[in-house]
Symmetry: C2
Subunit: 342 residues, 2 copies
């Protein structure tokens, strides 16, 4: 029931606890090799586990990074975490994961918890572009570096890494148009997520470029979840407008829309092309009727970790910087596209 402490080991061996501490820390400079070996073996034998709480308290730092993500449905965030953990662990950092569930209050609680655990830094994907901005500032002013990834934040002086949503959107929509689509439904993301605005902007830019009319009737609030996407699709169908493509904000919402379309016997991608800016490669792998610009998850994780570690290495020294990455494009050409090219 009780854990073995360095004092237990010290008593067992008749040495002082400092010696044990030094030996266990591998301080070859100040411990005789044989003492070292003896201590380590005894620790092993007695089932010693060093108490992180005690170490953190003493050292005044935790060697722990907090990661806050908005949801766990999309594999993007999980994949990001995996890459980030690898990088951070390599630098001797542990990670604590906290999920805000897309709610501002839960996000506050997550951050509070991370502060209580005295994390050395935070990787964060926000659930709202501005609601908790003051809190972010407060945390950073306390000397805890934060790096924001994927979801953009407004009004915060901090390092960020995200993809170029406008370009990604432009690329995707242009691809649709070139493959013969003219009437493109856009499942708009929530306005409190900055990326949504950018993607709408991209959508509009392409229409202008091709001198196609912009009809607000084709823009539907598609939310984030599959349910919201499905609902949005039904809402649009009731408007009775002709359409040949759906460009969704989330992978999840466009898949929700897809289920509605299939129920209505639309053939995909022959009748309707589906596309989105996707979380991860897995998406288009398993949804072979979906076109997507894919986020470079691994690169984003590396970059975010690099930015954070830099700030950790030079406390208070480096200016915040924003890194913008570019997605990879995976497009499923519909038969319509083939006709259009002919």
């Amino acid at each position: 029931m009780k854990y073995v402490t360095i004092i237990d080991i010290a008593n067992e061996l008749g040495v002082s606890k400092s010696t044990v501490s030094r030996a266990l820390a591998g301080d070859a400079q100040n411990v005789k090799p044989e003492t070292m070996k003896l201590v380590c073996e005894t620790a092993q034998r007695m089932g010693y586990r060093r108490n992180e709480a005690a170490v953190n308290l003493r050292r005044q730092l935790s060697k722990t990074i907090g990661i806050v993500i908005p949801e766990v449905v999309t594999s993007f965030f999980m994949s990001f975490i995996q890459w980030a953990q690898r990088d951070l662990r390599q630098q001797g950092y542990r990670t604590i994961i906290a999920v805000s569930n897309e709610e501002v209050t839960q996000e506050r609680e997550c951050l509070q918890m991370l502060e209580q655990c005295r994390v050395d830094g935070i990787l964060m994907s926000v659930c709202h572009q501005s609601a908790n901005a003051a809190l972010y500032q407060e945390i950073m002013s306390r000397g805890i570096p934060m790096v924001f990834f994927d979801r953009q934040v407004c009004g915060v002086e901090a390092s960020q890494v995200h993809i170029d949503d406008v370009s990604a959107s432009v690329f995707m929509v242009e691809k649709l148009i070139r493959s013969g689509c003219r009437r493109i439904v856009h499942l708009l993301g929530p306005e409190h997520i900055g990326n949504a605005t950018d993607r709408l902007r991209g959508y509009r830019e392409v229409l202008e470029k091709f001198k196609l009319p912009y009809n607000p009737q084709y823009i539907v609030a598609g939310g984030l979840s599959a349910d919201e996407g499905a609902q949005a699709m039904e809402e649009f169908l009731q408007r009775g407008l002709a359409f040949d493509a759906v460009f969704g904000f989330t992978e999840t919402s466009v898949l929700g829309a897809k289920s509605v379309l299939q129920r209505m016997n639309f053939r995909i991608p022959d009748d309707v092309s589906l596309c989105c800016i996707s979380g991860t490669t897995l998406c288009t792998l398993v949804h072979p009727t979906l076109s997507a610009v894919e986020q470079p998850t691994e690169e984003m994780a590396h970059t975010a970790c690099r930015l954070l570690l830099e700030q950790l290495a030079t406390p208070g020294q480096c200016r915040p910087q924003t890194v913008v990455l570019h997605g990879e494009v995976v497009v499923r050409e519909s038969t319509k596209a083939v006709q259009a090219q002919a």
Copy 2:
């Protein structure tokens, strides 16, 4: 840079740190209401965050539960975590998530880390049914309760919760046969995962029941990942045997197989039915050609948490118990099935 401590608050107010501690803990019995209010307000104003490391050290417990999962690709584990976190948080527990990446050594490191963090209990899904069994026993003998979920463990006296893999498998395969399939490929899971053996057993039981011949040629090692599933499928195709269904161990591996089949212009589910025992509802939602018995993720999480909390409440008192849940079935009937019924 420096955090505010209760001593800072005590000095600010000219009271002792004990009083501050009591007030912050909400000990109304021993603190005058006005003092209480004053302390709390000051704490708020000064941006106090209580140091969890110090509390844990003092209290000799962490109010933290560790969750170990083998991978983060499947949404099942993420979904499980979400439910579990909700239950545990409600009981005042924090959670630490650790990922073993299906590797025995990484799993050891995870557990070691959790012990170092002095977690009060562990929810665990193993990457190997027996490799670390001794370690599990050691941890439990130290008084840290463990509950194993989803993946079965061998030779360990501990509480477990998983689905009835044999029944699930029987149900799925029987469904295939009743819908007209006769030659069913089975993508077998790794032998170090107990559930794989059970599912194969289910497969064989059904064949016997229907007096169909068992041909080992139809069993292919399908691994866990999409790549492994694809490779297994290709391997099977080279055998040149006729087949009309694929029953995979993992959602992921059967989707890998699917990509190969599609490349070969098989029509799904008309030429070939695909099915598996799936991680979560999302799976069949987004893969409308896949039939599956779905794990009751939420129920599994609730059950696992309940078992753990029971052990936490009565240390060393409750005997390990195994709970077996049943999956829900979602079947996509192929046109072949319709023909068979006619």
